[in-house]
């Protein structure tokens, strides 16, 4: 261990106690990764602050030692965002997980950044309220991570993404100063909207320590359906036609056959393993509207060639179906040792073509692929099922990925819908933004973190 690391750790331990500062080889090895299995780099030290003041102290200490800082929630990110760089201090916020205030009069909840996403929704539920953003990882992801990635989820179609619920946040800047951005007002146009700048900033502009979130009334009713198809295109067409019929359901999730089989293997919820694709559709709201929309959606699905449309009998069955869907990505790991996941979003009118293109690209390069995604949002997750030990296969994956990215951009899509740029996508960011916008992003980063202390090496090449 180098001298600076020793003194950095010592200084932190002196203030926070040895129990909250980790430097053992065994510890460093397990903070080397996030949910992107292929990326890995040991940090120099890991620290667990419990208050905003302690976070500020960590930043100031790291600053003095010129150590790069990586903020970490639960490490479920899928773009390598919390994978450290060499010599980094990992500031892990998973112990700052208190609910600070639920305000039923203003429909808000204020929480510490390490609070688990599902806990927030469950707490709101006890008051007849609802926190809609629900990334597949909601059981374990932290709200800080959600804010940093601007996470989407299964209900994004109707309810939007994390950004649409962040009313305010507290952040520790690279200088060690603490700022509050935003407030409980539904309308507020005083100055630049810096709050939104932090949402989706992937830990590169500041460490978010507290978040004030908007809640909505719990919908009175919901209906969850499962439609099965013999072709991928028919599923894509159903989505396009539902949107074109001016129906905005809360969920339209897509799974292809490979994914259906893996998920069924794990969850045993009775998915049709012979179907080429399924859609999980959900509508919620007033009981009358729900009944009407559900009937219309079922009719559209059938008209598009669905071989069956099944409605979940009750909440328990609906929840089972949705949690099975949430396991899709991980379940695909049953097939081959290494899973590499993409996160492309295209305008919804382009969906059917995109799904077909992905399948063709995988076939052309002789690769196994499973595709699932938030189809109602145009957000697809083609996932390569590979083995990282096979260099030739990995090369073919790269070729296919590049093709998919090119096509995505050609049809006006984006290289990431919800997982962020991180390490995984940074080669493509400039391609999407163009020079001017890319430089503008860098200017913002330079203004807020001139020394490049916060999560360096992410987002930008």
């Amino acid at each position: 261990m180098s001298q600076t690391v020793v003194s950095l750790a010592e200084e932190l331990a002196q203030e926070l106690g040895v129990d909250r500062v980790l430097t053992a080889a065994e510890d460093l090895a397990v903070y080397a990764y996030d949910g992107t299995a292929a990326l890995r780099q040991n940090p120099a030290c890991v620290v667990f602050p419990l208050t905003t003041a302690e976070v500020a102290f960590c930043v100031q200490t790291a600053r003095r030692h010129r150590a790069p800082i990586v903020t970490r929630g639960s490490g479920t990110g899928l773009s390598g965002g919390s994978v450290p760089m060499e010599g980094a201090l990992v500031v892990c916020l998973n112990r700052m997980d208190r609910i600070i205030e639920l305000d039923p009069r203003n429909l808000t909840i204020e929480v510490e950044a390490g609070c688990i996403t599902q806990t927030i929704d469950e707490t709101a539920g006890k008051h007849g309220l609802f926190y809609p953003p629900d990334p597949g990882s909601r059981k374990i992801s932290t709200i800080g991570g959600n804010v940093a990635e601007n996470s989407g989820g299964l209900r994004g179609l109707k309810y939007g993404v994390t950004r649409d619920y962040v009313m305010g946040l507290e952040a520790v800047l690279a200088s060690g100063e603490v700022v509050w951005l935003g407030n409980k007002c539904v309308k507020d146009v005083a100055g630049y909207n810096l709050r939104d700048l932090f949402v989706g900033s992937e830990g590169t502009l500041g460490i978010v320590t507290r978040v004030l979130l908007k809640l909505v009334p719990l919908p009175q009713a919901r209906k969850t359906m499962l439609a099965s198809y013999t072709t991928l295109e028919a599923a894509g067409e159903t989505v396009s036609n539902i949107i074109a019929a001016k129906i905005i359901p809360c969920t339209l999730e897509f799974l292809d056959q490979q994914t259906i089989r893996c998920v069924e293997d794990f969850a045993h919820v009775g998915l049709p393993t012979e179907a080429a694709a399924v859609l999980i559709m959900e509508t919620d709201g007033h009981p009358h509207v729900v009944a009407e929309e559900a009937a219309a959606m079922a009719a559209i699905a059938s008209a598009c060639g669905a071989i069956s449309v099944r409605t979940a009998a009750d909440d328990a069955e609906a929840n089972k179906l949705l949690s099975a869907r949430r396991a899709a990505f991980s379940a695909l790991a049953r097939v081959r040792p290494t899973t590499i996941l993409e996160d492309v979003t295209v305008p919804r009118s382009e969906l059917a073509g995109m799904v077909a293109f992905i399948a063709a690209s995988a076939a052309k390069h002789g690769l196994q692929i499973g595709t699932f995604g938030h189809m109602g949002d145009g957000n697809l997750h083609p996932t390569y099922l590979t083995d990282e030990r096979n260099a030739d296969e990995m090369h073919r994956v790269e070729l296919s990925l590049a093709e998919i990215v090119d096509r995505t951009l050609a049809v006006g899509g984006t290289i990431t819908g919800e997982h962020g740029v991180g390490l995984a996508k940074k080669p493509y960011l400039k391609q999407q933004l163009g020079d001017n916008s890319y430089q503008l992003l860098k200017l913002v980063k330079g203004a807020l973190d001139p020394d490049g202390l916060l999560n360096p090496g992410k987002i930008f090449e």
């Binding site: 065994e26 510890d27 397990v30 949910g35 479920t76 790991a333 040792p337």
Partner: protein, 443 residues
């Protein structure tokens, strides 16, 4: 030495299969306690992989982490990728033992006495059990406890002494005949595994199991002397001893002659169903182990499979709650069957137990090796039991029953609650039925 590394000898893709998604984290009691990544399933698997890759040595910290894991397998139920954590853990612990990184002579002696001697020799075990029973019966234990002699014992032994369960003699060999026939012509022929700990501490459960099987048309064959299934050995990294015991048990039965081999202990059952994997490289035994694995059933699983008969007699107004044993639930994926059996009981009010899928802290020898964490989990379990207001707690594994009973005895809120195996309640209901409807016919 590195060629022998047990983690290296595993198929690497098993280690690789963990794709770091973290879906297992919220189900892990040790991660819940520390919030440290290395005390999580994902972290532990990463550590194992680092060892297999030769990037990390088998250190004391590594060993401690493997020992801190409960082996409750909640992570395997949660893992969508299907990572076989149980096998990984056994091999990691095996590697720790092989390298001898932890433990002074006292730990070694303790392990040797228990795993190598006591649990391998059923006669000796019964003899020790009998003297333990006498010792308890004659009041020596409580006298010694009063004198404070126990404080002189080393810490681990003291914890163990305090938790010494009450031995229940006579043992199964005296309670169950080698072959018992049901009243009506037998529809099935089953072998009954009476276990070792189960036999010492809960032989009435074995009798009840036999009775319930008989009442459901099974001929019950119970060898007089049986061996420990070897689960404790395997879970604690003594894979060779476990193999030895598995072979001994296979020798006892002509598997082909039975419709099922019945276990009534969740922990043992989850190990018994994996003999084929354990004896994978044993050309002489592997085929028999495969046949064996196919026939082993937990008693609740078997009873539901053959359509267990509902008893007619009502116990009346008893509130029962059920705690899922980790190895029954996560190891064997048996969730619904014990509840289905309890629902057959007339007049029983079955109330759900919060966090029934969360470990009680018993976990094999965990209460001895990690007394602090074990006590925390037990406390959490007792809170939930108290909240149900139940007067009976049912669970399908002797280790859990021992741990929970021990905790309830010391908790004034729960001192009156009875802990038992679901089959005991069934057996009692059948017995009541027989005494009421009796030879005379009507009640």
């Amino acid at each position: 030495m590195s060629e022998l590394n047990l983690l290296k000898s595993l198929d690497y893709s098993v280690l690789q299969q963990c794709m770091h998604c973290g879906m297992c984290l919220p189900t892990c009691p040790t991660y819940d306690e520390t919030k440290f990544e290395r005390s999580s399933p994902r972290g532990r698997i990463r550590l194992m992989r680092e060892v297999a890759d030769g990037r990390l040595d088998v250190t004391e910290t590594f060993a401690e982490e493997m020992s801190y894991c409960l082996g409750c397998l909640a992570c395997t139920t949660a893992c969508p990728a299907g990572v076989d954590y149980g096998t990984l853990l056994e091999n990691a612990r095996g590697e720790v033992e092989r390298r001898g990184v932890i433990g002074g002579p006292a730990r070694r002696l303790f392990r040797w006495a228990n795993l190598s001697v006591l649990f391998r020799h059923p006669r000796l075990m019964r003899a020790v059990g009998r003297s333990l029973w006498l010792y308890q019966k004659l009041g020596v234990q409580s006298a010694l406890r009063k004198l404070g002699v126990m404080k002189l014992l080393p810490q681990q032994l003291r914890v163990m002494e305090a938790a010494t369960p009450t031995v229940v003699a006579p043992f199964s060999n005296a309670r169950i005949k080698r072959i018992e026939m049901p009243a009506a012509p037998a529809k099935y022929r089953v072998a009954l595994l009476t276990g070792c700990v189960q036999d010492l501490l809960f032989s009435p459960i074995n009798r009840a199991t036999a009775d319930v099987l008989l009442a459901n048309g099974c001929e019950v064959v119970t060898p007089r002397l049986q061996y420990c299934c070897g689960s404790l050995h395997a879970h604690n990294g003594e894979l060779e001893l476990a193999r030895d015991l598995a072979r001994k048990n296979l020798d006892l039965y002509d598997v082909e002659k039975f419709d099922a081999i019945i276990s009534n202990a969740g922990g043992c059952g989850s190990h018994l169903k994996k003999y084929a994997e354990l004896l994978h490289h044993d050309s002489q035994y592997h085929a028999r182990a495969v046949a064996w694995d196919r026939k082993v059933r937990d008693v609740s699983e078997w009873l539901v499979e053959i359509g267990c008969r509902a008893p007619q007699s009502a116990a009346g107004g008893v509130r029962v709650t059920y705690d899922a044993s980790c190895h029954l639930l996560h190891g064997q994926k048996i969730a619904a069957q014990p509840l289905a059996l309890l629902k057959l009981l007339p007049g029983v009010d079955l109330v759900p137990l919060a966090e029934s899928d969360w470990c009680c802290g018993s976990a094999g020898v965990y209460s001895i090796t990690q007394p602090e964490q074990s006590a925390k989990l037990l406390g959490r379990k007792l809170e939930h039991i108290a909240a149900t207001g139940a007067s009976v707690l049912a669970s399908g594994n002797p280790g859990c029953l021992m741990q929970i009973e021990n905790g309830m005895r010391r908790d004034p809120r729960l001192a009156h609650v009875r802990a038992c195996h679901p089959v005991e309640l069934l057996a009692e209901a059948y017995r009541r039925e027989a005494s009421r409807i009796g030879p005379g016919g009507a009640e």
